[in-house]
Symmetry: C2
Subunit: 105 residues, 2 copies
C-alpha cells in the first residue's frame, strides 16, 4: 500500500495488535504484516511515538537470557482506537464522494 495512505492507520494498527494481549516488536510485525506491510524501522519509530504519547507502556521481560520488551496499551491508546473508528466513517464518506464522481463513465 502507498506510504501516504498508511499514515494515520499504521499507529492504530499497532495499537490494535497489542489490544487484547501484551506483545513485543518482533511479534507485532509478524501479526500485522499479513494485513499491512510494516518494516522494523517503521515499527520501532511508531512504538516510541506511541509511548511518548502515553498510549502504551513498556515492560522488559527476560526471555532466553535476553530482555524482551513488552508493550501494554493504556486508556489513551484504547481511546485512540475509538477515535479512529469515527475518523474511518469520514473516510467512507470521502470514498463515496470519489466513487460518485465515477458513476457516469
Amino acid at each position: 500500500m502507498d506510504a501516504q495512505l498508511k499514515r494515520g492507520i499504521l499507529d492504530v494498527c499497532v495499537l490494535a495488535a497489542i489490544k487484547n494481549e501484551d506483545s513485543y516488536g518482533y511479534k507485532i510485525i509478524k501479526d500485522v504484516s499479513p494485513f499491512l506491510e510494516l518494516s522494523e524501522s517503521t515499527l520501532y519509530t511508531i512504538l516510541k511515538r506511541l509511548e511518548e504519547a502515553k498510549m502504551l507502556v513498556t515492560r522488559s521481560v527476560e526471555h532466553n537470557g535476553r530482555l524482551r520488551k513488552y508493550y501494554h496499551i493504556t486508556n489513551n491508546g484504547l481511546a485512540r482506537i475509538e477515535e479512529f473508528k469515527e475518523e474511518f466513517k469520514e473516510m467512507m464518506t470521502v470514498y463515496k464522494f470519489i466513487c460518485k464522481e465515477d458513476i457516469d463513465d
Copy 2:
C-alpha cells in the same frame, strides 16, 4: 479529520472533483469541503504536484476580465483514481483487522 489520515486520499479527492467536468481552484474547494476539509494552501500545493505528475493539465480562461485557471484530468489521473480504489480495498482489510481485535471487549 486527522492530517495524517488525509494523506493519500486528498490528491485522489481533487482528481475526482475534476473528473467529470474541468474545474478551477476556488470551485474545487467548495465542492470538496463538505466531504473533506481542504484549505487553499493545501489545494494549490496538491494541484501543482498533480500537474508535475502529469495527472492533470491546465488551461487559463478569461472570466470577468481575470484569468481563471481550469484543471483537466489526464489518463494518468484517471488511472490514479482506479489505483486508489484498489488500495482502498486493502484499507478495508486493515480496518477489519483493527475491529477484529475489538471483539472480546
